[in-house]
Symmetry: D2
């Protein structure tokens, strides 16, 4: 047993093919439509790109082999997802975009055989999209999930759900919803949530407006969703009643990391574009890339990329060992979200006027990555959680010493 | 004689009225159209808002009194422009948006009586807009003005101008252009530029595409402009031949500062929106605004606002005394561009998901202010200029000591 | 009335003479003894330097004219103190070091005629030193003054004081103490403190060990002080009973600013040393000072110096107008303490191995300035106070709007 | 083959025993003497601690097994050295302090059998100390090794060496020197250096003054060393003539990483002390460690520790595979030196007045870690090297595409 950071030959090959597929097939489409996936074709484009990904043998690297995926563990997903993320449309092409990728991951862990057949299989194959309906408008569940307001109450042979959700990614056009609702306890208490599965056309589900956000590359947008006397049968319960928060953790740790992987790819693209620019552009008597202040930005980008990747390796390895990895995923997510923003921001700066224009992809990348410091837990919430563990341990040690 | 930072009663009154006008009349329009001035009505809206500003007695605070302005010096412009900048549309309403405001300033200093009548007077009154055609695409004049490529050569009774300009703010719809062209020397040499005035409908002037940039609030966009055998008479020369770079300095120092004033207003609005949000929003058992990590962001914003304002006071005072103030305007601009970005970025973060959405103005403010670190000289160029002065002085002192 | 940042001719002259005195007379002594004032001679050196300052006409710029000072207001102190601070020993030479300078300021405002004669006059003239005994070890009054633990209780014809103080600057060798003690209320409550004056040789005052701190330039060190059944008469009360916290504010706002002035001078010296070094030292094919990454550090230092100075101007002007200026002094102090640290840290870095060695003064400057982020209120406490005001105002505005 | 970050049982055991030895045996000595190793006993203390380490079975984890070491590769050294670094004296106790540890590493790779016997064996066993004489005063070899000025010229049966060295760690008391001297080419050229071995008592070697630096924990100080007609035989040549720069690389990459390991341990100790403090200390109505601004500092420390460790794992793994790892060691060193400084600086800040005093170890830790941003290549030089590779690759790619 010894430290090893090498990928198997098979994974290395998938990394390489994903890189080529992303750059040759996907990136030109992203650039043609300025990164706006709705304008580029939305679900029609998705199906077309996914067919190409299947043909190239790079489709669904994360999905169980039985459903046509490559069955990669978290450690191996990291470099593959990063390559896919090099284009903002790459994750959609490989069927590893949020929230479908995280939903596949969670369903593979929790769904019963019938649910796997009905929901997981078509999702893994790219036949439908899905949505994860957890976050709510103020004063409901936002950064603090315990504020969950949506309620499911027992009804004849099942449950009746009422509530309003907010920022539900991919809701418009989703084939089904995973719904987080309170089945016991009161808002502000940690316990008592349950997850439900429901086809999107179930009466009582209404998708409202798209929230206009800085990012533009998510199919189906970030929507308001209303559950109005939505009736679901007992078989709609995912896992067990009142264990929803626990299952959310199963989803959240890995989902944080796959966000990092994809966005790291996007940041690397920004960096590459900027390095290419400064290596070429003359100014002040030399290439811009030979000037010290530009070199500093290039080096800082390299450092941020390396550190993000290294933290990702650690967190993924812990997850693959079956650990909760709450601390290392919080650390990796917090560092990455800020580093990725810095990388893109420096890349913009290196390119000056071109950097803030649509003539290069940097301006749109800067918009795409900004929300990552908020999505999947704001940096402040992660820092709070990290510190609480450390300070709490110190308090306990002090108490023990007394 | 003693340090005094108080504004006169007259100025204090104008500050107050500008604040009220901006919040009551202008801000609602900005918010209705999400800060997109073209969608909000473009020049038609401009005229309407300027009429309202005239009625409110807040129009053209910077313009000479003879042309209907208030004739404020730089020191007094600072707080007034900041109030106008509180709305992204405020500067247009008061006729103090870039580039018109800087052009009024420069023409008031350099234009001869005929030019004042033909160009300055209608510009100051808001009857036309203008453009300042200096920057060029690579390898021409960008951050390094000495690379100026556009040429004017003697022609019968005047000059023939050929060249291509880039990022020319307000070009689409401008009534006239101030054109920077090389009349002697070669690209890479500092000397030999001349400024020319030309009505926009002069044959040989062609406005090309709008460059798609992060910011959206500048009327007339940032355009490509082509000069193709443009013929101008000798009377089109602004000031004297070959002194263009010198005049550009007259414009640049103050123009940098008025940029800071306006954008500082925008940053303050972002901060106010965020503070209002965290003072209201519950989370983690208290108001967000009572949590330490949020308090840190609030305080850092206050510090950045105060420091920006204080540096501005210094630079404006030097300019009002007739100094070049190259150093203090570079310092104020560099600090401000980065501080303003930080302020808005923190404000976004404080509001979480709302911050990156169109439900609050923060996402659009974050897009508006990002380019300021590039426009009017990237931070790197200013830092280089600041350091060169200091290190150069040290070298001279060492040589003297030998 | 208009913005004016110029100093009067008289002040300008004092600035110039202070600069020359500091560099010609004081700095060589500091450098000879590596900034360790105890090794350099302690109080004996102090008297010698103060005599020289008197001869040079630069002594006691802050003290009332009636006691031989120049009677400068806060605005005029700023540049004079900065020049004195250029040497770590300069403030002692001019009798404007902490805590004496702040004590002169406070006594001039609050002491009655007898106290002025007995304490203020000799202090202003440099005949004695003083100490301000407020801070206490945990769980007493540290960053949070309301935790004040030292108690004064009525005794026959006066007060009996018991308590333990900590980090009392200048205690060893001080001629008298200003003692903050609780006369009503309980620790944790804001009210109920009184200030007492007592000669150092009063029975019941015991000066303990010097706390070993990073800084070395304060005469009399930072000591532990014990009050053990210390009896003082009623005439020892400074001002009125139970108004101690209020008087502390009179002292704290200005004292914060004079700290900034002095330390800014020290930071400027560090910067000058570094600029001189990089202007001379060859490396990588040019002078270090012509390399972009070094230029960035030089420019950032210039920006930090300018911003600190500008914030100081603002806060001093408010204080001179008789305002509390709690917000602007907190802002200036917080920004300055961090900026001054950055300036010195960058200066160290510019000089590489020399920077961390005793061959240049930078290593010792880096030790001197670090504590400023803690002394006179840690940055976190100032930020908390700044944010509380802003968020509190927003809450009140929301309540009013309801 | 798959990613694995687990240590073998044997290594895990050595980590644990090193941790216990450091905390139980070494740390109390460091604390007693305030981290000043000279005052604590110098070489006498070293021998005593090393005997204890041998008894505890934790001595020389890095040295070849044949010389009594544990023969750990770089990956396994990382956690062991970090545990030793938890005390500033720990590395000396385990015989893994700079420069001996790097010298052992290099000699194990390059020395011939006689040299191994004469120099490596006693060094590995702790019988002597050593010095690596490379850096020189300006204008010689500092950050830019190609400026090497010390010369070795052919002399009867060997070489005559003349030159002056600077910042030679451990020189005072070293048993032998490894000397870098120019044997061909001119200063400013990269080639032509040779390494020589010489016992410290060879005539012509003179150790000058100790340079007074911020750090205090290195035995033998940082000295000036003079080579004055030093005569060494041909057998003194380490490896081959003119390959000195190449061998220096063999030493530098790993030596950078072991510096990081040790200093990371020191930073962790600082963090632990601060966390313990804030978990206990009351203020503002709660434990300091429950306040948001403190929590932010705690979390940022955790993130910096995790990222440093993760980058170290990567670089060590590359080195263990036999790669040059210039890029990943530069990245890890640059990130680590800055992160370690931040960690200690935040720890100081968390403890307020106690943090800047000798009552806690933080003030001395802050002095120890500051030079790391300079030692072993200033951050600026590493960033320059990182950027040159990236921009150079982009230029080549552009040339290929033409």
């Amino acid at each position: 047993m010894a430290i090893d950071l090498a990928y198997s030959g098979e994974t290395a090959d998938l990394i390489k093919r994903t890189r080529e597929f992303t750059r040759d097939v996907v990136l030109p489409i992203e650039d043609e439509f300025g990164g706006n996936i709705t304008e580029a074709g939305g679900d029609e484009l998705r199906v077309r790109m996914q067919d190409a990904a299947k043909a190239a043998g790079v489709f669904a690297p994360h999905a169980p082999v039985e459903f046509g995926g490559h069955g990669l563990n978290m450690s191996d997903r990291a470099p593959v997802f990063e390559e896919a993320g090099y284009s903002l449309f790459g994750p959609v092409a490989l069927n590893i975009a949020a929230p479908d990728e995280g939903n596949v991951h969670m369903l593979a862990h929790i769904a019963n055989p019938e649910q796997r057949e009905q929901y997981l299989a078509p999702l893994a194959r790219g036949e439908v999209r899905s949505a994860f309906a957890m976050t709510e408008p103020s004063p409901g569940a936002g950064s603090d999930p315990s504020a969950l307001n949506t309620r499911a109450v027992r009804a004849d042979g099942g449950w009746r759900i009422n509530g309003r959700k907010f920022f539900i990614t991919g809701a418009d056009g989703a084939g089904f919803f995973i719904i987080m609702a309170r089945t016991s306890g009161e808002p502000g208490q940690r316990g008592g949530a349950t997850m439900f599965l429901a086809p999107a056309d179930t009466p009582g589900i209404r998708v409202g407006r798209h929230i206009d956000t800085l990012d533009r590359s998510m199919i189906g947008g970030h929507c308001e969703v209303f559950f109005e006397d939505l009736l679901v049968p007992d078989s709609a319960v995912l896992g067990e009643v009142d264990r929803g928060f626990e299952y959310a953790q199963v989803r959240l740790g890995p989902a944080r990391m796959t966000h990092v992987m994809r966005w790291l790819g996007a940041a690397r693209r920004g960096h590459d574009v900027a390095v290419d620019y400064v290596a070429k552009r003359e100014g002040f008597g030399s290439k811009l890339g030979d000037l010290g202040m530009i070199q500093k930005m290039v080096a800082d980008n390299e450092i941020d990329i390396a550190a993000t990747r290294a933290l990702l390796v650690r967190a993924c390895w812990e997850l693959d060992r079956g650990e909760h990895a709450s601390n290392s995923t919080s650390i990796a997510k917090t560092y990455a979200a800020e580093a990725i923003f810095r990388i893109v921001d420096r890349s913009v700066q290196m390119c000056g006027g071109m950097g803030v224009s649509g003539d290069l992809p940097l301006a749109r990348l800067s918009r795409e990555v900004r929300p990552f410091r908020v999505y999947d837990g704001p940096s402040e919430v992660h820092r709070w959680a990290i510190a609480k563990r450390v300070v709490g341990a110190a308090k306990r040690a002090q108490a023990d010493a007394r």
